[in-house]
């Protein structure tokens, strides 16, 4: 899932200030926390309220798209909604925003979110944690299914470092030390010897930015 955090309402209201008629586009895809129809309606009401407090009356329409990052799924439903719309406020991640920019060349699109990371939901704690760094050279096979690139603060390939304390990371005691997790898990699986294998240096140039893949 792509994890996003909502921008402060003031920042969104500032970005909307040149416009009156706005389409709010939710996304039912992988964005977490969910940014679907509920979020779109809630955003419309909050902005209407916030606008009124600033002495500004907006007109909102809301829509949600199955996967905002997919131009084929996004273009058609958007086209039916954009009559008289001056701007689209996207509740999706940066991919969704850019897809809308691509399928609506004549209408400005604004982001309502800051896109943070590829992460998973720890629902019991109501938190989302980064899990994958999209490094292009997956080593999960030898690290017990736990990624040190995304989950170690230093992205160490040989951990833990001296800052690992009681299974937690020195930069934030709320966060687990990824290498502590890796070693415990490999120990449990009886695969600790995997860490003794000599591996060639990682190729960090596997994905040349901007990434591109032909299928």
């Amino acid at each position: 899932m792509i994890v996003t955090a909502q921008k402060p309402l003031d920042e969104i209201l500032d970005s909307l200030s040149p416009y009156n008629s706005i389409l709010i586009a939710g996304c039912d895809g992988c964005t977490q926390p969910p940014r679907g129809l509920r979020e779109a309606k809630s955003m419309a009401q909050l902005l209407e309220l916030g606008g009124r407090l600033r002495g500004k009356e907006f007109t909102f329409k809301v829509i949600t798209l199955p996967k905002q990052c997919d131009s084929y799924l996004t273009a058609a439903p958007l086209q039916t909604q954009i009559k008289d719309v001056e701007t689209v406020l996207s509740l999706a991640c940066g991919l969704g925003v850019q897809t809308i920019a691509q399928v609506l060349p004549d209408i400005p699109v604004l982001p309502a979110q800051n896109t943070l990371f590829i992460g998973a939901e720890i629902r019991e704690d109501s938190t989302l944690e980064e899990r994958c760094a999209a490094c292009g050279n997956c080593l999960l096979a030898s690290t017990g299914g736990i990624c040190p690139i995304a989950r170690c603060a230093k992205s160490l390939l040989n951990g833990p470092c001296g800052g690992s304390q009681h299974g937690k990371c020195e930069i934030d005691p709320e966060k687990d030390c990824a290498w502590d997790l890796i070693i415990r898990r490999l120990g449990k699986l009886g695969k600790l010897s995997a860490l003794e294998e000599i591996r060639p240096p990682r190729n960090f140039a596997e994905v040349v930015r901007p990434g591109r893949l032909t299928t």
């Binding site: 909502q6 402060p8 309402l9 003031d10 209201l13 039912d28 969910p34 940014r35 679907g36 129809l37 509920r38 979020e39 309606k41 809630s42 009401q45 909050l46 209407e48 309220l49 916030g50 407090l53 949600t64 199955p66 629902r123 109501s126």
Partner: protein, 389 residues
């Protein structure tokens, strides 16, 4: 406060002087709040475990339990008064958990004129009240709507009522008042899912405290046998694909719109769990305070709160049970979390203090009014500041 003074603030008391130590209360209590001293047989109440269902009160043969809400005297006094007021000799008793509309009574019981009585659990009504209603007050027919027994928020309340009705009905017949004077029905209110709106996100599967939700064939499906109607999944569904019978989103929205048209200053909306606060018969709140009784704080939908502010409500007070008392496991906890998140967002446009979450319990009868009073003061001063600005 010493122990005795403190006890006087409790909603329920066991009176040792008149207690016959029969321990009927001890066996009836669904929450193990009453214990028995092994040597003396004395019965002791642990108020922190008590949910004030009053099943003990209605079961006590020695009448040695005192209770704050819906006690025998106030019930009979109400019936005497209401019989004239409503000009009817039919009585309709409902558990508030069934959330029965006046308009539904005709469909359910085939009568249109009746004396209404809504109580938190019908298991709390002593047999004596039913007997008196018929024999002395002149009620000719009693219709009772209880919750389904596996849906009863007080575990045994509905079952207790069923057994009692059978006994009282038999007694009334023997006394010559006729057959089937008391008619009992049961129902429960559950989730409704719209497959066409479902996006298969699985939120309901995780949040349902009763494991009633499953993702099957690309959409959420609910085992209604397991659903207990807390409404938590409804308030959290990102796709707005769920609704709760009798606490439908539209129904609540209409109530909020009606309230917001009233020009009380400050105009306050209270969304309270119906198990956290038991209203008194004559509950009179200030005219600027509008209450919506919810099936659980978990059904409080952030969209309704924002909508209330949008429509001109000045302050919204969310009243939940303590987490330990929550009748639907996670409702209070999730309501606290989602209200805190919304409060933070509202703070970004200067409305943070207009929303407040609190927990109260019927075992302390004054606690709701205290919270409401404090909140009203906060909102009054916020409104005054706004006018100054």
């Amino acid at each position: 406060m010493n122990a005795l003074d403190k006890e006087s603030t409790f909603a329920i008391k066991l009176n040792a002087e008149s207690c016959s130590k029969c321990a009927a209360c001890y066996s009836a209590c669904p929450f193990e709040a009453i214990s028995k001293e092994p040597e003396t047989g004395k019965l002791l109440l642990d108020i922190e475990k008590c949910q004030v269902c009053a099943i003990c009160y209605s079961s006590c043969p020695a009448k040695s339990i005192t209770i704050s809400y819906y006690d025998m005297n106030s019930l009979t006094r109400y019936l005497e008064k209401a019989k004239d007021e409503y000009g009817s000799d039919s009585l309709v008793v409902t558990c508030r958990g069934t959330n029965l509309d006046r308009s539904e009574v005709e469909q359910l019981f085939g009568i249109s004129e009746f004396v209404p009585l809504s109580v938190p659990c019908v298991g709390r009504i002593p047999a004596e009240v039913l007997l008196e209603a018929v024999s002395r007050i002149g009620i000719k027919a009693v219709y009772i709507l209880a919750c389904d027994e596996d849906y009863c928020r007080f575990e045994r309340g509905s079952a207790t009522a069923r057994l009692r009705v059978t006994a009282v009905d038999a007694l009334l017949e023997q006394l010559g008042y006729g057959k089937d004077i008391i008619k009992l029905k049961q129902r429960s209110l559950k989730v409704r899912a719209d497959r066409n709106k479902c996006i298969s996100c699985g939120n309901c599967v995780f949040y349902c405290p009763y494991e009633a939700a499953k993702l099957e064939h690309g959409a959420a499906t609910f085992d209604l046998e397991l659903c207990r109607g807390c409404g938590l999944c409804v308030s959290l569904c990102p796709a707005l694909a769920l609704d709760l019978e009798h606490w439908e989103g539209d129904r609540i929205s209409t109530m909020i719109s009606d309230f917001s048209r009233e020009k009380g200053r400050p105009n306050i909306l209270v969304m309270r769990c119906q198990w956290a606060v038991f209203p008194e018969f004559d509950e009179e709140l200030d005219s600027n305070v509008h209450v919506i009784d919810m099936p659980c704080a978990g059904r409080v939908d952030p969209l309704h709160i924002i909508d209330a502010f949008r429509q001109g409500i000045d302050g919204v007070l969310i009243v939940a049970c303590n987490e330990d008392d929550c009748k639907s496991k996670k409702g209070s906890k999730e309501a606290r979390r989602s209200t805190a998140a919304l409060k933070k967002t509202l703070g970004q446009i200067g409305l943070g203090e207009r929303l407040h979450f609190c927990t109260v319990a019927p075992r302390y009868p004054g606690s709701f009014r205290e919270e409401l009073h404090r909140f009203t003061d906060t909102i009054k001063s916020a409104c005054t500041q706004e006018v100054r600005q």
